[in-house]
Amino acid sequence: MTLATTHLLQIRGLSTDYITGGGILRRRRGTIRAIDQLDLDVARGETLSVVGESGCGKTTLALTILLLIRPSAGEISFNGRDILALDRAGLRDIRREMQILFQNPFTSLNPRMPVLDLIAEPFLSGTRLRGKALEREVARLLGEVGMSEEHLRRLPHQLSGGQAQRVALARALALNPKLLILDEPTSALDVSVQAQVINLLESLRQLHGLTYLFITHDLSLVHHISERVAVMYLGQIVEMAPCEDIFLEPLHPYTRALLSSTPIPDPDRNRSRIVLRGTIPSPANPPSGCRFHTRCPAVIDICKEMPPGPTTVGGEHWAKCHLLSA
């Protein structure tokens, strides 16, 4: 498979389904298409943010890339290798290259394992490092995320939210991954703690040349850290652009609504808010044609019948909307 080697991750036509129903009587099974024919490229060293609300599939995307969920269609290549076709050995190797940081550190860290064991675990299954050498490495990692050796014996519930997230980060970085997927890593943290963690993430990224896939719903954060932004709705990417462009010139009506919905801490800003009608449809029953048409303030007839293809507007900025090609 020939690929541009600047791209660390290349995704083509990815679809992931959840099967519902089943059981001993094998009742009629339903499928929920959580990701629908998604294409995505992530360049080496960049921070790509994925923005969307519940049901858009962003967490499913993360789990699929990590091969924790099997996709039903599509291709994923990482560093030039087709990771969906790997054998067990290859899978083990690839696993070290991609890691994830979850939103709530208190559920992503085993509550019965002290910090030392938590950070040591990747080494135990991925390397031959043991004993004193392992402890030294763990202590070094802990220092890198800004914590001290006194925390090694603590259990997660004895740490603050920010500290626990740092431990989760240290664990994710243990095997020197190339790609770090961050699933709302600061949403559960206070603003001041979020600032510390974001600064830490940024300095580590530069230090280790990491690539970040940053999943979040917080648009102000997106603006602060990303190179490019992808907006997801009901399993599809509806707009993708360099960071500045998304904010200056949002093309897709959903992106516009998202931007206008974000509360801004400035009481003098008088914005006209685009309020979307209705609620997010269930992924089990997606609307026909353009999936956004049921809530779109600018819907036209063709939107209900045909799903729009991507329209590129200058360079790297594209969006899927009939209004653009009209």
Binding site: M98, F102, T107, N110, R112, P114, P122, R153, R171
Partner: protein, 303 residues
């Protein structure tokens, strides 16, 4: 620099951080009833272990008859009297404690071992593994436990070992179900996903992540089952399906003394019966305390 074990914390070694306030052990320690029962049971354990040294009639405790002294009522020389074969009851009750405790431990230990293993496998793997294990569990659960234990014991032949195996085989399904339910939810937790994303293999995940996090209800159930184990095995030996004479077993002793109750020789059944009652009660109350200490709602402290 190994992490602290719960025992180290319990002993309150000043070099190690004190028992963490708010933890389950801390609550347990403040529970007077629980502490009293633990104390009592500790005494029972010590007494059981030291039985040969605590009585002058050790041989009789083990079963050797002493016919000239039969049917002696309680006196200074024989505080609990002697039984139908002249054996000193104190010795018999002491030796019976050994049997009772080992019975409780073995039964509960065996059922926990089988139940937790099968439950964790069923809950984690799901699919046909889950179906198969759950069907087996259902079969066992369809029988009333005592009847099942009786049937198995009868099939295997009457002996202490077989009685213990029989009861364990009747009880493991409860633990399996308990653990399976917990495992089903634990496997969806993000720390399990994180472990899988690191590349940890399934069995290690079960051992390291699933099992430690499903054990709390198991402990509670096991603590409460200890008392039931003693009673149930006493029941089995009462009807002759447990240990055989001349072994000192409380249930057996109650049975042996049954014929003489109306004849005025009350002490032969009563004292072992009393011992049974106290020990089982202590275990049951202990189980309650363990449950209270583990239940975050009962503890009252806000989350």
């Amino acid at each position: 620099m190994k992490p602290l074990g719960p025992i180290q914390r319990w002993l309150g070694n000043p070099a190690i951080p004190r028992l963490e306030p708010g933890s389950a052990l801390w609550f347990f320690r403040r529970d007077r009833v629980g502490m009293a029962c633990s104390g009592f049971l500790l005494i029972v354990v010590v007494v059981a272990v030291l039985a040969p040294y605590l009585t002058a009639h050790a041989a009789e405790g083990r079963g050797e008859p002493n016919l000239p002294d039969k049917f002696l009522p309680p006196s200074v020389e024989h505080p609990l009297g002697t039984d139908v074969l002249g054996r000193d009851q104190v010795a018999r009750v002491l030796y019976g404690a050994r049997v009772a405790l080992s019975v409780a431990l073995v039964i509960v230990g065996l059922s926990v071992l089988i139940g937790v293993t099968l439950g964790a496998l069923a809950g984690y793997f799901g699919g046909w593994v889950d179906d198969a294990i759950m069907r087996i569990t259902d079969v066992f659960l369809a029988f009333p436990p005592l009847l099942l234990a009786i049937a198995i014991a009868a099939a295997l032949g009457p002996s202490l070992t077989n009685a213990m195996i029989a009861i364990a085989l009747a009880w493991w399904p409860w633990y399996a179900r308990l653990v399976r339910a917990q495992a089903l939810s634990v496997r969806e937790r993000n720390y399990v996903r994180a472990a899988r994303s690191i590349g940890v293999d399934d069995l290690t995940i079960i051992r390291r992540h699933i099992i430690p996090n499903v054990l709390t209800p198991v402990f509670v159930q096991a603590a409460m089952d200890m008392g039931s184990a003693i009673i149930t095995s006493a029941g089995l030996s009462f009807i002759g399906l447990g240990p055989q004479p001349p072994m000192a077993d409380w249930g057996l002793m109650v049975n042996e003394g049954r014929a003489y109750l109306l004849g005025g020789r009350w002490w032969i059944s009563t004292f072992p019966g009393f011992a049974l009652f106290l020990t089982a009660l202590a275990f049951n109350l202990l189980g309650d305390s363990v449950r209270d200490a583990s239940d975050p709602r009962v503890r009252g402290a806000g989350a």
